[in-house]
């Protein structure tokens, strides 16, 4: 452990810089928040709106993040094609939802129609994810880590441009479901129906997923494989089958997220999956990659900070056009979390092997 004077000086400079950075960010946030609240530009209702927008966006991030985190937990690999799986779910739901709306079914049985649209999105996503796993990942299972990562990026481009080839470069407007229009009143505050339904649906999906992982036999097997693949195989677990079902579960969540996303923002195109994919990956890292509740928390936190952040602590600091910095806020928060808690908000149970 011989360290020269120069090295120690460098260490000191680096940690000094990091501390300075932390303090600066905290100062900006505290000062900005204080000034904004003092200025009183927004009403209480508007603050509630910001949070609600954040929750509905965040629950979608959370659903996508689950797929990243589950696959990482089992294979120690980032599935960069996951954003495209999400997009394919949105497309799958689009054709069914349009058909249901045009035929009048959606107006008659809105709840059933909604569930059918989500299920079809999940189905399409799952099928595509299984194909990707079989073609692009499984043959590379034994290869060094970088190899499946590159393959995943390739799969991502392939899916994007396949969809472009089939459905063209233009946008598709999601049918607006009359049952989802309008607001519900809570204690005198109007909240958009679609936001509430999207958030509820997302939480239900996450609940289902969590129970599968925690309380079923296959979930137990998943946890075992993520702990140690080789030992799990020795215990008689079919590792391949478990990996496939992990991909399927993650993709089903992404498919549901795709339909929910499209119902909220009402337009999709072949490139729709890219930004939410990156954001959800951020959310997964934020919550602690490999950790399922972490992905949920990370998604929600990211969504809320993105929505509330610009108005809360950038607006009053005299920063012009704060909403252009929305992404910067998200990623700076990621850096901050990683500085303070390198393993993410809920931390990962790092296996000894990794």
């Amino acid at each position: 452990m011989r360290t020269s004077f120069g090295e120690r000086l460098l260490d000191l400079a680096v940690s000094g810089f990091l501390w300075g950075f932390r303090i600066l960010i905290v100062l900006v946030v505290v000062l900005g928040t204080f000034l904004t609240i003092r200025a009183g530009k927004y009403t209480g209702e508007q603050w509630i709106d910001f949070v609600v927008f954040g929750i509905s966006q965040g629950s979608i991030y959370a659903l996508i993040a689950l797929g990243y985190t589950m696959v990482y937990g089992i294979l120690r690999m980032i599935n960069f094609a996951h954003g495209e799986i999400f997009m394919s779910g949105a497309f799958g739901g689009y054709f069914i939802a349009t058909w249901l709306t045009v035929s009048g079914f959606m107006d008659k049985y809105p709840a059933l129609g909604f569930v059918i649209a989500i299920l079809s999105g999940m189905l399409v996503s799952t099928l595509i994810a299984l194909l990707v796993e079989r073609i692009a990942y499984r043959p590379l299972r034994g290869a060094p880590r970088l190899v499946p990562l590159i393959s995943a990026i390739g799969a991502s481009f392939f899916l994007q441009y396949t969809f472009r080839g089939f459905f063209g470069p233009g946008v598709y407007a999601y049918p607006s479901i009359t049952a989802l229009d309008g607001e519900w009143m809570f204690f005198g505050v109007g909240v958009l129906k679609v936001q509430i339904i999207v958030a509820i649906a997302a939480f239900v999906m996450m609940g289902i997923l969590y129970s599968i992982v925690m309380f079923t036999k296959i979930g137990k097997a998943m946890r075992a494989v993520s702990e140690d693949k080789d030992v799990a195989a020795l215990m008689g677990i079919d590792v391949n089958r478990i990996i496939v079902s992990t991909f399927a579960l993650g993709a089903a969540m992404a498919g549901a997220a795709g339909v929910l996303y499209a119902l909220t923002y009402r337009q999709i195109n072949f490139f729709t999956g890219f930004t939410p994919g990156i954001k959800a990956f951020t959310a997964a890292v934020l919550g602690g990659i490999g950790n399922i509740p972490g992905a949920m928390v990370g998604g929600l936190v990211l969504g809320i900070v993105e929505s509330v952040g610009p108005a809360l602590f950038l607006d009053s600091l005299g920063i012009p056009r704060p909403y252009q910095l929305k992404d910067a806020i998200a990623y700076i928060m990621l850096v901050m979390i990683l500085l303070f808690r390198p393993s993410g908000i809920l931390g990962e149970r790092v296996s000894k092997k990794a």
């Binding site: 927004y42 508007q46 709106d49 927008f53 946008v171 407007a173 109007g190 195109n269 056009r321 909403y323």
Partner: protein, 420 residues
């Protein structure tokens, strides 16, 4: 093994170079010597006259680029597809509506020495990214749809020597929208939103300045990233400022999201919405949904065109069917004709059919365009490359069904001109 392969390869390369060299040298018995400062394009007796179009041909804004491309194609058809008995070859390069895309497309086009001149780009961002490369390569481009004011201003810099446009400058468009809002709609409190593109940023600023000059107040000027999807937070911030009029001269992606979400935000239920030529397309109706009904869009005034616009529309209908996609097809048609008119003046045609095009002379000839009878007006290019005849109108969207989009319909236009 690899060594032998390398040897074989190098022999092959050498041989092909030799063959290529002999092939091109043998038949040329040149009598013309090129003295042009930027060099000449030589078009062999059986070679086509090669022009290129660069603009946005994919993504949410592909209609903007595709629309202009059709204008170029119709102009070529009108020349019978031929120039001096050479067929005309049109290649296209997608510039993605971004500075990076523009730079890539320009680099690719600049390496092709057979290109005589260019039409493009679609988005001002593309020009900002690519024009230096094109100018340095001795090429000249005429844009049918860039509207950012600075592109043809006196302080635009030497990189823009090879750049002209037939589109209006947003100095006119922003002013027109401000007058429309203040004098016609009688609103006094306006807010703007842009997507960070050079086009939107500059245009909303012109509008804001002009609106203030007229006596109105700008209550908020916000911006989002070009790939943003959740507009409700930024719209809530705008709502807190209480505008009566929201102007977002952006592109289709952001324009669609804003229009689809704006009515969901408390305080913006009745705000008047307006956009500009960047979203003057049926794609906005697709992306924005039912909320687009009643929205105002500024655009070149089709009814003020002095040329045979009806004839152009008839040709367009016969060739492509359906309505025009966006708003700059006639400008592209005019740009193409200006290019070929200049080419006719400077091209040197040999007896065997070989054509020489001196690049600097061609550029000068385009700048010298005077009182050119185009569809969009009688065009005269300024020394800074402004060739447009700007007359701006404001249109109102009458029906949110994309299939009903037809601004040139005689009886039932959608969108419909309402001002001036």
């Amino acid at each position: 093994m690899t060594k032998r392969l390398f040897a074989i390869l190098s022999v092959l390369v050498l041989a092909s170079m030799l063959i290529a060299a002999c092939g091109s040298k043998a038949p040329a018995a040149a009598t013309y010597t090129c003295t042009d400062a930027l060099g000449c394009v030589t078009i062999g007796p059986s070679d086509p006259v090669h022009i290129a179009y660069w603009g946005v041909l994919s993504g949410a804004d592909s209609s903007l680029g595709e629309d202009s491309k059709r204008g170029v194609e119709i102009a070529i058809d009108d020349m019978g597809g031929k120039f001096q008995n050479h067929s005309i070859l049109l290649t296209t390069e997608d510039a993605l509506c971004t500075p990076e895309g523009g730079a890539t497309a320009a680099t690719k086009l600049a390496t092709d020495t057979s290109i005589v001149g260019l039409i493009g780009s679609s988005c001002s961002d593309e020009t900002v990214g690519g024009i230096a490369t094109l100018t340095k390569a001795g090429l000249t481009t005429i844009s049918p749809s860039n509207t950012r004011p600075v592109l043809t201003s006196p302080d635009r810099g030497p990189d823009y020597a090879g750049y002209l446009r037939t589109a209006h400058s947003d100095a006119f468009q922003g002013k027109a929208v401000a007058e429309f809002a203040y004098n016609y709609l009688k609103v006094t409190k306006a807010a703007t939103l842009h997507d960070g593109s050079t086009y939107a940023q500059a245009l909303q600023q012109v509008f804001a300045d002009e609106f203030k000059k007229l006596g109105g107040t700008i209550v908020a000027q916000e911006a989002v990233a070009k790939d943003a999807t959740d507009m409700k937070p930024v719209l809530t911030t705008i709502a807190a400022a209480g505008p009566e009029f929201l102007y977002y001269p952006v592109f289709v992606a952001v324009g669609g999201f804003v229009t689809a979400q704006v009515r969901d935000v408390a305080g913006l239920e009745n705000v008047k919405l307006a956009g500009s030529d960047g979203i003057f397309t049926a794609d906005l109706l697709k992306a924005g949904g039912p909320n687009t009904k009643g929205m105002y869009l500024s655009s070149p005034d089709f009814s003020a065109f002095t040329g045979d616009y009806a004839g152009f529309i008839a040709k367009h209908k016969a060739k492509y069917g359906g309505s025009t996609l966006s708003t700059f097809h006639a400008h592209a048609y005019d740009a193409t004709n200006i290019l070929f008119a200049a080419l006719t003046k400077v091209a040197v045609v040999e007896a065997d059919g070989t054509i020489y095009v001196p690049r600097q002379a061609l550029r000068d000839a385009i700048y010298a365009t005077k009182d050119f009878k185009g569809i969009t007006g009688n065009l005269t290019c300024s020394q800074y490359g402004d060739c447009g005849a700007p007359v701006i109108a404001v249109y109102e969207i009458m029906n949110s069904d994309p299939a009903s989009w037809n601004p040139s319909d005689a009886t039932n236009p959608n969108p419909k001109k309402i001002w001036p």
